[in-house]
Symmetry: C2
Subunit: 233 residues, 2 copies
DNA sequence: GTCTATATACGGATAGAC
DNA sequence: GTCTATCCGTATATAGAC
């Protein structure tokens, strides 16, 4: 699986994302016409990610957002009750998409080594396709209210557990060597996160996501399969 | 080398840190008596790290800092000209200590495998001893002015290069197998960073820094030293 | 439905009292 | 040397004009 193939298969349509957000918050969003609502939601979210990822969400003012979107302050407040609610909306949308795509990717595979590869690549490719969302989620998690913060931690632990379970399963089947599955899952996540957090570093030396994915898969497999026969792709 | 041994050898005396800061900024700090200056600097920095690491530096108000330190606003401004200068002081102090300790740790070793181990452990142990500083540097780097931001990026690239050079050197000596040294160095750094960024996760399952260090060293060495047949790309 | 003007509060920084 | 009172700017959020 390459990034290009992933993009086609997953069909992360931006329009689809905003339709979801609109219907999820239909009660609080005051705009009535769906067409303008979708257009404005897209403007608002893209601008929020753009500005926040440059100078931080708390440093982004509502006037910044107004200027970037071309929407007035009054209109902005038709889509969320407060700046904090906007933050929560971005975070929960990101979480939802991530867990859905990860589950989808793993559902198609049964062999532990294949599941491990699929999980790593799906996560990397998704974070590549939605880099601003991932970066935002990572950096702004600590500015959330306590309730949303707990949800974010739970989400981190959930995806770590996905990887840990794959590893444990592989061990039980005798495909992977004995190891500390929790730590292995943790460092896999760390490597996946580095791709979207330190994007500038990889861009600087012209590394693309397919190359990085191959490297991570190779490193992880070479550790987990050590002792057994080298595997073919 | 264990964390306990590192702590003794490196002797990261808190008092020493603040003495350094005081002398480095002697010209701008208005407090004259060294003794009270050191005490207040310690109060200010500890409080800044504590508050910022909870809610972010930009969300920390000068009144928060005043309440936490017990110092008045007027006194605080005797130690820095602006809130941004305080940010820069924290960052540059952290950078200085890190690069010094890393260089010291590597200076004692010549064998590539030993150097690799020493670099990984020194970084982990230092970040353990100064976790609030490292967490702060990592999270607040993007809120810096462009000049300080460049310095931070340079520091990131510098320590990555330290690891990449060790790997390349080991390859040339035939100790390490052929590999992508840049990516390997990058993911080593990612694993080191995860330790202090996601501290809560490791604490939750009772993992200590010596255990984590052993795991990372084992993973990295098992990949680099993998003998027999080198892998193809 | 959209925008402009403004209420209200709080931020960083400082001047001057003690 | 230290603290208190305050200036000035700007933040979020809203009410009311068009």
């Amino acid at each position: 699986m390459t990034f290009a193939q992933f993009n086609q298969a997953a069909a992360i349509s931006r329009r689809e994302i905003y339709r979801e957000i609109y219907h999820e918050h239909r009660l609080t969003i005051k705009a009535k016409k769906e067409k303008t609502a979708l257009k404005n939601l897209e403007l608002i979210f893209e601008a929020t990610l753009k500005i926040s990822n440059k100078k931080g969400f708390s440093a982004m003012t509502m006037r910044d957002l107004s200027a970037e979107t071309g929407l007035s302050l009054g209109v902005l407040y038709h889509y969320f009750a407060s700046k904090e609610e906007l933050l929560d909306m971005v975070q929960s949308t990101g979480r939802g998409i991530t867990s859905r795509i990860l589950r989808q990717a793993l559902a198609g595979e049964s062999d532990p080594a294949a599941r491990l590869r699929a999980g790593i690549k799906a996560h990397l490719f998704l974070s590549e396709a939605m880099q601003p969302w991932f970066y935002f989620s990572y950096m702004e998690a600590r500015h959330l209210g306590s309730e949303e913060k707990e949800r974010t931690k739970a989400s981190e632990l959930y995806s770590e557990k996905l990887f840990a379970d794959i590893l444990k399963n592989g061990q039980e089947q005798g495909v992977f060597k004995p190891m500390d599955c929790q730590n292995m899952a943790a460092v896999i996540k760390a490597m996946l996160q580095d791709w979207y957090v330190k994007r500038w570093k990889y861009a600087k030396r012209g590394q693309n996501v397919d190359q990085y994915a191959s490297f991570v898969v190779d490193l992880v497999e070479s550790y987990c399969l050590a002792g057994g026969e080298p595997q073919e792709k």
